[in-house]
Symmetry: C2
Subunit: 812 residues, 2 copies
Amino acid sequence: MINLLREGFVMPLGPNTETSLDTPDTPDPLDEEELSALDAHWRAANYLAVGQIYLMANPLLTEPLAPEHVKPRLLGHWGTSPGLNLVHTHLNRVVKARNLDAICVWGPGHGGPAVVANSWLEGSYTETYPDITRDTAGMARLFRQFSFPGGIPSHVAPETPGSIHEGGELGYSLSHAYGAAFDNPGLLVACVIGDGEAETGPLAASWHSNKFLDPVRDGAVLPILHLNGYKIANPTVLARIPEPELDSLLRGYGHEPLHVTGDDPHTVHQTMARAMDEALDRIAAFQHAARTEGAAERPRWPVIVLRTPKGWTGPAEVDGLPVEGTWRAHQVPLPAVRENPDHLRQLERWLRSYRPEELFDEHGSPREQVLACVPDGAHRLGANPHTNGGLLLRDLPVPSLERFAVPVDKPGATAHEPTRVLGDLLAQVMADTGERRDFRLVGPDETASNRLQAVYEASGKAWEAQVLSTDEHLERGGRVMEILSEHTCQGWLEGYLLTGRHGLFSCYEAFVHIVDSMANQHIKWLRVARRLPWRRPIASLNYLLTSHVWRQDNNGFSHQDPGFVDHVLNKSPEVVRVYYPPDANTLLCVSDHVLRSRDYVNVVVAGKQPCFDWLDLDAARAHCARGAGIWDWAGTETDLGEPDVVLACAGDVPTLEVLAAASLLRSHLPDLAVRVVNVVDIARLLPMEEHPHGMPDSEYDALFTPDKPVVFAYHGYPWLIHRLAYRRANHPHLHVRGYKEEGTTTTPFDMVVRNDLDRYRLVMDVIDRVPGLAVRAAALRQRMVDVRYRHHDWIRAHGADLPEVAEWTWSQ
Amino acid sequence: MINLLREGFVMPLGPNTETSLDTPDTPDPLDEEELSALDAHWRAANYLAVGQIYLMANPLLTEPLAPEHVKPRLLGHWGTSPGLNLVHTHLNRVVKARNLDAICVWGPGHGGPAVVANSWLEGSYTETYPDITRDTAGMARLFRQFSFPGGIPSHVAPETPGSIHEGGELGYSLSHAYGAAFDNPGLLVACVIGDGEAETGPLAASWHSNKFLDPVRDGAVLPILHLNGYKIANPTVLARIPEPELDSLLRGYGHEPLHVTGDDPHTVHQTMARAMDEALDRIAAFQHAARTEGAAERPRWPVIVLRTPKGWTGPAEVDGLPVEGTWRAHQVPLPAVRENPDHLRQLERWLRSYRPEELFDEHGSPREQVLACVPDGAHRLGANPHTNGGLLLRDLPVPSLERFAVPVDKPGATAHEPTRVLGDLLAQVMADTGERRDFRLVGPDETASNRLQAVYEASGKAWEAQVLSTDEHLERGGRVMEILSEHTCQGWLEGYLLTGRHGLFSCYEAFVHIVDSMANQHIKWLRVARRLPWRRPIASLNYLLTSHVWRQDNNGFSHQDPGFVDHVLNKSPEVVRVYYPPDANTLLCVSDHVLRSRDYVNVVVAGKQPCFDWLDLDAARAHCARGAGIWDWAGTETDLGEPDVVLACAGDVPTLEVLAAASLLRSHLPDLAVRVVNVVDIARLLPMEEHPHGMPDSEYDALFTPDKPVVFAYHGYPWLIHRLAYRRANHPHLHVRGYKEEGTTTTPFDMVVRNDLDRYRLVMDVIDRVPGLAVRAAALRQRMVDVRYRHHDWIRAHGADLPEVAEWTWSQ
């Protein structure tokens, strides 16, 4: 054991740390028997973690350890594992003693061996994977499969029973924990936060989630900040500031810290048990006060600060360098066990230091004492159904669309703000889930800006901090969640969905890039989870991206980025869906679909500005069901032959420009056969081998023709369409317009002109591409050029769009 | 004025807030004359901010305000502007009084009108834009251009003199401020942080930057947390927690807070002046102690908490609803001035409340009193050369590559870890800038993991927190920066580069997605700045992406994502460059180029694992200069005709697999003419009209042939290559292999097999695509199928790759 007091690892307690638990006059919470049992469980878990990293045979050391018992590739993260095992052991104790419904989010999920070890000990692993039996043979398979080709990954992952959190990319544990706790008033969500993860932005922001947790309607989150002092190769910030400063930080986050510090196992067991008891007593008291006495003050929820050595109980020194208690314990402390007899001996000594013969019987099964702290059935952390949320999921009551659809007698005669229309539907969903409380809307302070404020009629905005009389719609237990952190919004929603509930994330289109990497990780989670038969499908993660690139009148260039779609379309096609509803009714139909769907990440891009109503509800339903279709009322095809040109569009603004271009062509070149195709479901452009929604070539050719010019006006970066359609026969004739990073604070029409997506440019594109038109329509082309110049002068003089554009209305 | 004490806007001071500045016994720092002058400057700035939002004529209200004086589209953010103006006014005072070298990062950059107003007042705006004169005509143009087509954006932006920070996407102000302060010991960097921005993850993480700021070698950062209480539509968290809790939070971040609270301008002026003096006195004392007395304790740097109403001095009520001091003041408080006579009257009253006749003379120029607080020349915040970093930039001393290149007598005879070789070069750069201190290396705790640890010989890792004797390479004033926050790394580096220095960001490839949106914003900044003649070119932002998708042996699926390249290639081609050096010497050549370059975002993807050396330095230089070329020593072309097939590759692992496939083909089909093409600079595949590096069709055809099958093994998502090359004549014959989201914790070769990028699959692809081979090479194809099956069984049995793969060496 290293001496933690050496060199100030343990800071002197400051004036703020009166809640430190080391005061000598408190009686020990554990008697000898319980202490011994907890320590046995911890040792067993540590033994199993080391075994997973190193062994492929001789799991119980029934013979002397030999090189051939050791894996050829030593992978895994030992450093965090003993700490995770300690937390799991002590969670077991309180869950059992208090009969809790509890889960744990393991932020340092790199310590996969620890969480897997605990699941195997409690039996949930064998229930999930029957071939990994709780005996010597199963232990051998457990060891061998870890980080082994064909086996399990090195992190906590979808494959891990009891997990809702992949431990690979750091930063999201605490927001996942809060997401799990919302609307689960009976649930305790423990959350281990590593001091490395604590340095990330998303984690730092998510501490303030406690201002959004209602002690009446939500469960409790118990953060356990585990300071083992090091990241991969560096000390951590929070472990190297004075303890009073850390204490002040946590109080500033709104928590009451409980400090557990040490490196002597028995002492730490006692202190940790006392901290757990104290924390759970306080949580119970806060909940009781709020639920039965109507206490309105925001609780100062407890946080446990656990300061133990990295790689605790592992090799103190290797090759003359200190390992335990340093960053060198991060991954595999003894790296050359197969080749180096000293390392082999050290490994054997290390494994035997846990006294496996006391922990496992002659069949390799955990002995009774080891399992004494383990709770039963669904109380086990690896078997709680909240961590396999699909088990608890109920269908969302999406109301009939008829009540919300806008009437459309003829296309383009009226206009609505699509997201406002959707807001009415969402308000109804919010109202209809008022009792069930399994639907939440999240967004970074943009619900009203995105025109969804009708939802406030059904639920206010969650808010547990101070309220002033001028405030509107703030509500304890509100299910609309607004914090100016896309990361926290995303993390909350993921945690909420993974525990079997429903939701939607509304976000400015440009700023959803802030959560690119989180979306990545969630898609990867779903892709793996879908292939695990025991993981039940969960509700899809639905993005509503609005305030989009074409209508950033107020904000300009920094707010223009339609590339999130490009990003997610690189990911597993079985998970990703992207929709561009062109008007209010199509947005309703798409939303109805995505809200009912399972195991997808759905991206819906829709405008919040007034937009012509093109399709009535029936037509919208049919169009969205097809995902792409001909709008014959907008084109000028007159027979069953092929048109001269196809004008295609995806997105509300491109659809407007295409219809205006079609209208110009009808007026000026009435004999030109123009087909208008609108695409809602962008993955339909892909070959059917590449995406479940991809259309067969025959259907593609029927829509877009095999060889006629296609002028495609697209909402996003134009080359995405080429990337989707490059295998189609007609690809050489596909010409795409879209956003090409030309923007500033300007008018809506100036935006499309700057990016060559405007109606006049589209008419020119048609003239340039249809054989024979170049000469015949030269005068029309010149008029198009002229009006674009006129636009240029006009907006600089008047600060507004050309009257003929601003006042344009659709007519057939 | 609203009453801030109403409803507890001002919290009672708690026990921790002993540094609050409201104690009645302190004498006022401002005499009547100075107070009056500061208030005049503030009123003038406020007047100019309102004028920019509303007016297109009658700027000085020399006639009654009429609807036609008002802009047709009212855009802008008033709410934050008076607070920014207050800060600017008081910064002017202290900069002048103390003769400071100071800049300010304006986090609430939505308040563009405020910063522009101040620049105009101090004269730096007119110096930058001579047509915006400091008189009535110039004021009229100043007003009109704001958020007007052809004018300037609504946010603080590259167009704004004195800015290094776009105010659009929130979260990065404080890390930018620290980046600016590093290695600028004489500089004060003030940083206004809005309480909205303070909720974001990146901002929350960046508070801990003070553990990396050296009081000796770095400048000072003065954060000013501006609590105006509201975001777009919601209260902010930090404004609605009790002041003692906020105070505790800031102390936990390592700061000493100075609270300035109020809504009476004269009182706030006095308190703010006192806070500024106190803060600067403390900063000076800390610097003095560290620089001349060798004090080693980390300073508790001051932070000012400025709590004033949102939209302060604007309309208190509009249409019967409270506006000043609420979220309704966020954008345009009077929305219908042109149509609603009441609004028009209110606007006129509002504008006249600043008493413009006292502020501007009959020519529209600011009066002497208004300018009394304004410093001179480069001391003005809008004219400090640090904010136009190219003015201060010196060429980086990149040493001769000969000293670092690895000897290559023949291709593939030796192997090196490319990033380790680069590490030696970077160490030399670090050493050679030891005096100049204008080069930093940033990374999220991965410098050593990425094999760049040689740099520690020249500079340690910046660290101002506690140091233990077991620590290595920690150093006060070190120029290697490691914190487990990609956001903070990126923000630091951006701030450092924008103030005229050099740097490199080394990052795990998958996790650079964490800063997707920051990269977006920096690329947008550069794209705009490049078009402003007065902005001098700055050093490029260089990413070294390593620990890449193909070699995540230890971590698996969550660590596999090569999509950052797809993301940045959507952005402005004049800014973005992407390189895939295939070995150590090409990495040196590419690094040499990017380190010397200006105004780019360079993405370099390179491996850290041992990799065959293919090219000696001369060949590497020639190859990198071309960006793509034929490796004739690897192919089997024998004459000047066209080959039967082209095997193309980009990336180190694909290059290895292509060379192995070429080797198999040479052995088994010796008469097949195989050409091997390696691509380093991926943008070369684009048409020359689409990217400055794009190659003409003639060159493309010469490399890839116009019509022969091309089997392209690519490092990333395969469709990116199609997106780049779809316009080429040979595109129908282009077949791309790449990463397709198939991965887990497994061996390197299993990764390429899972994604069909392995040598055997590539041979099959050749056989399937070269006419006539299907029959002739059927047996070879079957052998390829068989070996892939054998691989499958072997790794599951042995946990390691097939011996013939693991031991494969290149031979011609």
